[in-house]
Symmetry: C3
Amino acid sequence: MKNNHRKGWMEGDIFQFLITSLKGISQVILIENALTGVIILIAITSTSFLLGVVSLLSSIIGTFIGKIGGADEAKIKQGLFGYNSVLTGIALTLYMSGPYHWIIALFGAAVTAILTASMMHTMKYLELPVLTTPFIILTWFMLLVTYRLKVINLTKELVPQDLSNWKLNIEGDINWIEGTFSGIGQIFFLDNTLSGIILFIAVFLAGWRLGLFAVVGNAVALLVSYWLGAEHLLIYEGLYGYNAILAMIAVGSVYNDNKQWVQPLLTGILAAILTVPLTASVATWLLPYGLPALTMPFVLSTLIILGARKVLPRL
Amino acid sequence: MKNNHRKGWMEGDIFQFLITSLKGISQVILIENALTGVIILIAITSTSFLLGVVSLLSSIIGTFIGKIGGADEAKIKQGLFGYNSVLTGIALTLYMSGPYHWIIALFGAAVTAILTASMMHTMKYLELPVLTTPFIILTWFMLLVTYRLKVINLTKELVPQDLSNWKLNIEGDINWIEGTFSGIGQIFFLDNTLSGIILFIAVFLAGWRLGLFAVVGNAVALLVSYWLGAEHLLIYEGLYGYNAILAMIAVGSVYNDNKQWVQPLLTGILAAILTVPLTASVATWLLPYGLPALTMPFVLSTLIILGARKVLPRL
Amino acid sequence: MKNNHRKGWMEGDIFQFLITSLKGISQVILIENALTGVIILIAITSTSFLLGVVSLLSSIIGTFIGKIGGADEAKIKQGLFGYNSVLTGIALTLYMSGPYHWIIALFGAAVTAILTASMMHTMKYLELPVLTTPFIILTWFMLLVTYRLKVINLTKELVPQDLSNWKLNIEGDINWIEGTFSGIGQIFFLDNTLSGIILFIAVFLAGWRLGLFAVVGNAVALLVSYWLGAEHLLIYEGLYGYNAILAMIAVGSVYNDNKQWVQPLLTGILAAILTVPLTASVATWLLPYGLPALTMPFVLSTLIILGARKVLPRL
């Protein structure tokens, strides 16, 4: 009897743990909602089965490290030890080649959880969130590793380039519909329309306010990047959109105590606009290393606004 | 009647706001003095009318953002939300070309004020001033943007270069008199003798102690950079001087509680000396990106000394 | 009489100061033990007399600056103002050429002590140690200076390279015995077997636990770097080992309150493993500047683990 009871408790425990891991996936878009996590997982898996498996495993690994490391239970349950690991897992799987690339990706997901803890400690003093910084830093470091260790290799996509040889060519057609859905998809490195549609559903399901902010952030990025003369191919692929969506949700909705409309919308739009030049400059800065900008423009824009708000309370 | 009274109050308000904006200009050289601000504005305008207008507008924009953002009134009144915006405004106007460059410059000045607020929050914990860090970071980022967005372009001056192709050539004559006045002029990106003379007047007017520190800092930089074999052209143009002047004023006078002579002078000279190798290394570090060092050597030297003083109180 | 007494006191003072300076040398490997310092000095001097003299002088200079600056006596006595200066002194002597290189090295050692104080202030808020960060930052900056100031030059060894031209070639034999002793030697930039043996003696003398952690850290690095396909020449020269040794000692022994075996050993090994990819990526990152990785992989690995431990107490 007691054994059964014990077993029942363990099943509940495992179920709870899985829920937390799904929240870890939804936290990538700053949402704590297991169902949103499931739908995101469907969007990822519909593009690539391997990526889906890696995403779920990475979130499990990150959450598990939070648990055995003895982190604050409340933070673990919000999925805060999962989302950076999810992103690292996906990014390393995509950008690395070679027979062991997914093992390296899962190892990276594990180290990301440790780095997340470390950065949480650092940012605590500034009363600012770590956002996706651990994922970005770790992924950049791991991609640079490939130049020196034979066991892993970069994909052909990422090529270091001299800034002095760089020529800007913005030519090309933009399919605005596809560009719209690629924007949200690129948060998870997906650039097909179907995944984009599913992801929008996932966000709206967590709250129509969040959904609306995502839509507006995306629209702002498309317009501003086009108007400033960004490369059309990148706009089309959603590479100017995903940071704006995240920044708009973070600044306008998640970290905004004020639940009225005007001020959150305006500050959110400001954050979304800032991601456009930030995307351009981070990409330029990384050019000699051939590294992708990842979500750094989102992190910079959001931290600037959230930090400024401590000094400019009406922002 | 009431209306008139109200109008009178508003005029006073606008006057007060203008005074604050002028202080914003003087704060570039760590001085809170509206008259010094006016004279600096004359020095800038005598070189370029556009730069003068941009400087004043940038300070107004920065101060205005501080005000509508709801920042601490005391800090706003000291001009602390103006000086970084002034420098960004000038730098972007000078380094960018294209029809919209001054609009971009004023937009940059606005964002600089937000970044200043954000960095004030960060540095508060370290009990250290932000100095000109917001201006430097924002200007570097905006200059990198030009490689990716068609609407703005860099001037031909800023060319990325491979460090492996770099050859040091220090040849060239130095006109020591002109070099002296270019040093202080370069704080505002001016390299003519007249502007330099006016700027020295502006500093001495705010206090002969400040003036003396500026003169000594400049002399130290000229001698040390020449003795260590820096490029003569750069010494001549004052590019080794302006950081030393700022560091000497900051460390020796503004952030030094001890108003005696020996210790402030010695620490100030140390700070000024440090800016010389720092100018050399920051310039080398930025070479692959073709970015200017701006006032980064001043910021690094000053923060090192001010930070060290918290642990080494007799420094 | 009084004079004699006074003289006696001064002799004692000088003796105490020398002991502290020797501790400054032993603190490079996170050990506070004057005898260990003496043996390390023997290891260095047996390789190069000049390096031995520079090491001792650098520690004396660093400690002296702590004293006249008025730092906390307890920290000075632990040798905490010496070790970064020692490393800077050695590194600049080795990497620079030209008639004044050792003077520049000693000047660098002095500035390192000031930078150390500044970083102590910064890290105090995070409750994390500065480790060898001041040495690394200062040495990188000083090496970049050589491109712009004629008075000092880099050795031919350090050559900036385009990442796009980089080809990984791991070929070459490894002498595992020599590789083992080079690993610990490289902490002090020594790569001969004799110095390595003497250094192991120095560590074991300070405690067999410390010695064991050093041995394990070294072994982990050799195996992991070989298994991941690092360049054999670098493994042979100990360039994958020294960071692992330091990280293992720091994380497993020095900053671990728990004096049992299993947990410290496991976390230490994790820290040692992390230094291997970190060495690879830091080296890649610095390639365009031709700068050496120094002990940055150790610092990053250690700070990540120590920081994470504040949030994950069971790590």
